[in-house]
Symmetry: C2
Subunit: 140 residues, 2 copies
Amino acid sequence: MRKTIFLYGLSLAALVALLKFFEYRLFVRDLSVEVYISVVAILFTALGVWIGLRLTRKKIVLISPDFQLDTSVLSRLGISKREQEVLDLISKGLSNQEIADKLFVSINTVKTHSSNLFQKLDVSRRTQAIQKAKALRLIP
Amino acid sequence: MRKTIFLYGLSLAALVALLKFFEYRLFVRDLSVEVYISVVAILFTALGVWIGLRLTRKKIVLISPDFQLDTSVLSRLGISKREQEVLDLISKGLSNQEIADKLFVSINTVKTHSSNLFQKLDVSRRTQAIQKAKALRLIP
DNA sequence: CCCAAATTCATCCTTTCGGGTGACGGATTT
DNA sequence: AAATCCGTCACCCGAAAGGATGAATTTGGG
C-alpha cells in the first residue's frame, strides 16, 4: 500500500515534469490551465479506475473460490474437527470407504462420524448434508 | 454510460470553474500549475476509484446468485430434460423415492434416469454427480 | 490429576443406491 | 416403414449408506 502511494506520487511528479518538458520544448507557452487540468483529470481518472480494479480484484475472487468457513456455526452445532473433515470429503463426492482410506481410519469410524454429523446438521442423507452445509457456509 | 461521461465532463468543468473562482476571489494568483495538477489528480483519482468500483460491483454480485445453466454442456453430454430435472432434485438432497413422488413417476423410472445421468456425467455416485454438475455449471 | 469430550472401532439390521437387463409406447428422423 | 431416442416401468442383485448401540482409547482443559 505504501508502495502504491509512492508510485502514485512518483507518476504524478513524472507527469508534471513531462508536461513542463513539452511546454518548454515545443514553445507552446499558451497552453491554458484548463488543458492541463483536463489531461491530468483524464489520466488520473484512468489511473483511479485501474487502482480501484486492482484493489477489488482480490475481493472478487475471494467471494467464491477462496472460502473461509463460518466457525461460529461450526461451534454452535458442536461439529468437531473430524466431523468437519468427513463433511468436506463427503461434499467432494467420496464414499465412506474412500474417506476411511484417506483419513487412515476404519469405515465404521467414518460411519460413526457421518451419523453424528447428520444428527447435528439435522439431515438424514449425505446429499442433504451437502446442501445444508453449503447453506451454512461450512463447505465451499 | 453516456450519462456517466456527461457527468464526468460536467464535474471536470465545475472543478475548473471552482478553481478559477477561488483564484480570482482570493487574489492568490501565484498558485502554481503544479498545485492545480496535484489537486485535480488526487480528486480525479478518487473519482476513478469510485467509477471503477461502480462498474465492477454488478459483476461481483453476478458471479454466484444469478445462475444460468450451460446448455452447451447439456447438449454436448446428451442430457435430456428429464435427466436434468432428476439431477436438480438430486442436488437438492432428495432421495429417489422423493424424486419419484415429486415427478409423479415410479421410483424405477427415477433410477433409470439417474443411472443414465451418471453414465453421461461419468460418475458413479450421486454426490459425485453433484460435484461434477456444479463444476460444469449444470446446477447452481 | 481427573473428567468430559473426542476419536476410534465393532456388530446388527434396515434402507437406499447403483448396475444390469429387458420391455413397451410415443415421437422424431431417416 | 425402419431406426433412433426419450420416457416409462419392472425385476434382480450386490454395494453403499444409514440407524442404534456399546465400548475402548485418546485428548484437552479445569
